[in-house]
Amino acid sequence: MEHSEDRSQHSPSSEDPETSIEHDQLLPELVAHLRDSRTELRQEWANRITEASLLSSMTPQEVFSEATTVYDNYVGVLETGSVEALQKYAQDLSERIIPRGVETHEVLGIVLFLRDVLARSLFEKYHKDFSLLNRILDAYEPAANRIANTVAVSFVQERERVIRQQQDAIRELSTPVLQVRERLLILPIIGVLDTQRAQQLTQQLLSAIRRHRAKVVVVDITGVADVDVAAATHLVQTVDASRLMGAGIIITGLSSEIAQTLVHIGVDLSKMNTVGDLQGGIEEAERLLGFAVRRVADGDRQPD
């Protein structure tokens, strides 16, 4: 066994040349004990989980089968001191349970339960010999803390990965620049207009203006819930940048609340061309571009 334990907070794999042989045998003894009482301890643990009504989104069978694997992994880490396998398992577990709505406090809670259940059983077994119990706990506690740490970090990392992925997806989806007529684009903005998104949106719009050789762009902000000073500034910048490229912008879908806010916070919108709704905006754009849209059924049908 390469594992040794000093009284500091160091991980169990840190070597200490002065450790006695007895110390070296503490962890194997501990592991043997946990292996022997696997069935009861696992049951005890599962009971604690159910009592605290954690993992309510999973069936008892699932909880039990995951508990078995976690238990074995846990003991394995105590034995080998290597958290790599556990890390991999925790990541895999997180991947499976995050879509089912398992929360961070639940994951952390069950790992801490296992730690407590095992500590209790150690107390029970060694309570007659206080100094041995102390040494056993010295060996057990840092390893157990490290395991709890590993599982929690893996879970949170996985969650953050999922969140990042979803943010990317939203970002990709949320800024379509569409051509409705020759030289006329529409850009419907939905959601929050923060700095990062506004910059990305402006850049996409500018390259779309060049790609489609657009002359007029209708920016519809019906889907923007709230406009603050920053968002309004971004809108003005987008209008200015488009104008530098020779395209006019018509803003539509300003709700009455947003109109009041904008006037209240004193954003200068005098340079902006605004029309009430998207339909009006497109009509105005058509007028600027010289299109005349007519209903064919109105009688004066022409052979063009």
Partner: protein, 140 residues
């Protein structure tokens, strides 16, 4: 003397001023330093007077950057040209350049802009009230 000739040559390569009917088309092909910009400004104004142009197009499509001095020169050019009776349209500002300019607070508010040369010519027709064949093709 040779140095002057050389710089003049370099200047001629990086800027060209062509006459097209009542309009002048000035293209900047490479980044200009401050001195070259000043010379470009003088040359163009002189050309406007000489050819009695009614419209000027400045094509900056080849520029990757347009700093405050460059923008200021362009703006002054437009104002001077207006005093000479010519309307100025700046064409070909790249998306990245436009983005950077707005972030630097350069808006060129009193200058007309257009996407490319063709759009610029159509815009000049609009602004100078010159009807005819060219404006008809603009929005077909």
């Amino acid at each position: 003397m040779a140095t002057v000739n050389q710089t003049e040559q370099a200047h001629q390569i990086s800027v060209s001023i062509l006459r097209q009917g009542a309009y002048l088309i000035a293209s900047i092909h490479a980044a200009l330093d401050d001195e070259e910009l000043g010379r470009f400004q003088r040359d163009l104004i002189r050309q406007i007077t000489k050819s009695r142009s009614r419209g000027v197009i400045i094509d900056v499509g080849a520029l990757d950057v347009l700093d405050s001095f460059g923008s200021c020169t362009l703006r002054n050019l437009a104002l001077m040209a207006r005093l000479q009776g010519a309307v100025t349209v700046i064409v070909g500002i790249q998306p990245d350049v436009a983005f950077a300019m707005v972030h630097l607070g350069i808006h060129l508010e009193d200058v007309h802009t257009a996407l490319g040369l063709e759009e610029g010519l159509a815009r000049l027709d609009e602004l100078t009230g010159a009807g005819g064949a060219r404006s008809a093709r603009g929005s077909a």
